[in-house]
């Protein structure tokens, strides 16, 4: 009885040793080939796994002559409102393989991912000029306006805005970012936004002057002269009424000024007649300045 028991034990030990040895062999052969060849085994439920590689500041790839960084600043991530969401919640096309070779339109993928949580905003966006009419190549994604890893991040918006306007509050900072944000595609509209009280004040950091989206809407963006039935014609009475009490149609006669102040000014008869004088004065000033500069370098 005792002999039988010990031989059974020995047999089990041999099986165990063989098992461990073969496991070690497989692992070491994988290790020897490449650190990346395996099925993805790092923790991906959170983000610590991804950051094993992506927290390396030198992580970059040369693509079509451009050095594209794949570095993710954890500090920025931590300051974002999405800090508790796993990487894969947005990067839904992750291939569970390394390196992630699959061609991915990650911007598009990410914005598609937004709708999983932000359904209403997405519905409005997709039926707006931005979501449906803008040419595919230029179509703004969620991240295009809201940012990505730093989304809603106090740190990032504050830094950006304090650089821009010397503002310290994140809300003010976001409010004032319209000129840059929308200006990337709508340069002419942001340049011409310089009327009294609204545009000129906005560009000079007035926290209560309307940002682009205060009149044009945000997710369901309004083209003011939009003829597309899918985008409702902007109701100006309603738009101006957000700030002005008692708006009626007669109040709207001001609206051409909002993006047209420069044009209206330059077409003014009196301005056109005094223009030669002011130009001459400006020229004389320039001449005097250059003389002064050459005399006192």
């Amino acid at each position: 009885m005792r002999h039988g028991e010990s031989s059974a034990r020995r047999g089990a030990l041999v099986v165990l040793v063989v098992f461990w040895l073969s496991l070690l062999g497989t692992a070491s052969s994988v290790w020897a080939q490449s650190p990346y060849q395996a099925t993805f085994t790092l923790g991906i439920g959170g983000r610590s796994g991804c950051l094993v590689c992506h927290s390396d500041q030198n992580m970059a790839r040369l693509t079509a002559g451009r050095n594209i960084s794949y570095y993710i600043n954890e500090e920025v991530l931590n300051s974002s409102v999405h800090k508790d969401i796993s990487c894969l919640a947005c990067h839904t096309d992750f291939t569970y393989g390394t390196p992630h070779r699959a061609k991915s339109n990650w911007k598009k993928v990410a914005s598609e991912a937004c709708k999983n949580c932000h359904k209403n905003a997405y519905q409005r966006y997709i039926s707006s000029a931005h979501g449906s009419r803008a040419p595919e190549a230029k179509r703004p994604t969620c991240g295009g306006c809201h940012g990505s890893h730093a989304i809603g991040s106090q740190l990032a918006t504050q830094t950006a805005a304090s650089l821009l306007y010397g503002q310290s509050s994140a809300a003010t900072a976001f409010h004032l970012s319209g000129q840059k944000m929308c200006g990337r595609c709508h340069q002419a509209a942001t340049d011409s936004y310089s009327d009294y009280y609204h545009g000129a004040a906005y560009k000079n950091g007035a926290p209560d002057a309307p940002a682009c989206w205060d009149c044009h809407g945000s997710h369901k963006i309004y083209g003011v002269r939009s003829k597309n039935p899918s985008v409702a014609e902007m109701d100006l009475v309603e738009a101006c009424g957000q700030c002005h009490a008692g708006v009626t149609k007669d109040f709207l006669s001001y609206t051409p000024m909002i993006h047209g102040s420069e044009r209206i000014r330059s077409e003014n008869l009196l301005w056109r007649s005094v223009r030669p004088v002011t130009d001459w004065l400006a020229g004389t000033k320039e001449l005097l300045m250059s003389v002064a500069r050459s005399l006192f370098p």
């Binding site: 000129a200 002005h244 009490a245 009626t248 000024m257 009196l270």
Partner: protein
């Protein structure tokens, strides 16, 4: 509406520049006709027969400060000429508008009640009207002397009365631009007239703003003239009014408004040229 606003900017800037040019020419004539020489070198200044009192001087000083602050902050609200000043300039305007209104009422109280009430100094009389052409001719160098029948000449009287009236209109139009004050909707108080003329409240406020802006320019232009004349016509009184000098006094009588001079036009006073 946009065109009106642009026109106002253009018209008033042009008028302002023209006024500066006209008064520069006026200053030149002051030199050419020897008026400046007689005043600043020989010390021939108008004489005052009553002391300039402390309270009006103080109120005037405060008034000047307020008006400068209001014009500056108001212009900033319309033309934000530096970054980040909106909130500060608004509150500066809101603060000074209260001070200036209190000041206005204080000055009116001083003028109408109390021992030193001086409203008569500001009331135009028939004699003022009679000598008005002479006053104008003096200022445009068509006449060597200024008719002198009262403490203030007719142009001063009119300007000071207009200042007070305009300030009331300015306060009214200004308040109509505020929708709520401490959570209370004050529009019914200042925009009640929009209903009867059939426009919306917001449009009414826009018209108020236009009037407020016009008066702002009237103040700026008239004050520039007022300050220029106060320095060039009666520098000693100017220094005394701002607390760093003394006006020229002559308490021996002989002023145009003395009983002896009733009906007469007294000339050859103080700085005036001898023909």
């Amino acid at each position: 509406m946009p065109e009106i606003n642009v026109w106002l900017d253009m018209i008033f800037t042009t008028v302002f520049v023209l006024v500066v040019i006209v008064f520069s020419v006026h200053l030149l004539f002051n030199f050419l006709t020897g008026r400046m020489y007689r005043r600043f070198v020989k010390g021939e200044w108008p004489t005052h027969d009553a002391p300039l009192r402390m309270l009006p001087k103080f109120l005037h000083f405060q008034h000047v400060v307020c008006m400068f602050g209001l014009a500056f902050s108001g212009m900033y609200i319309r033309f934000p000429f530096f970054a980040g000043g909106r909130t500060a300039m608004r509150y500066l305007h809101y603060f000074l508008m209260i001070v200036v209104i209190v000041n206005l009422f204080a000055r009116l109280a001083y003028a109408f009640v109390g021992r030193h009430k001086d409203r008569k100094q500001f009331t135009p009389t028939m004699r003022d009207v009679k000598v008005a052409p002479g006053v104008v001719l003096y200022y445009i160098f068509m006449r060597p002397t200024k008719p002198h029948v009262d403490h203030y000449n007719i142009m001063q009287k009119l300007v000071y009365i207009v200042f007070a009236l305009l300030l009331f209109v300015q306060a009214f139009t200004g308040f109509s631009l505020l929708t709520t004050v401490f959570g209370i909707n004050i529009q019914p108080l200042f925009l009640w007239w929009t209903g009867p003329i059939g426009i919306g409240v917001a449009a009414g406020a826009a018209y108020s703003r236009i009037i407020h802006y016009i008066i702002n320019w009237v103040f700026i232009i008239v004050t520039v003239i007022h300050a220029y004349l106060s320095v060039t016509e009666d520098y000693p009184a100017f220094t005394e009014f701002f607390g760093f000098g003394s006006a020229n006094y002559d308490f021996s009588g002989g002023h145009g408004h003395e009983p002896a001079a009733h009906g007469a036009v007294i000339t050859g006073h103080g700085s005036e040229e001898t023909a």
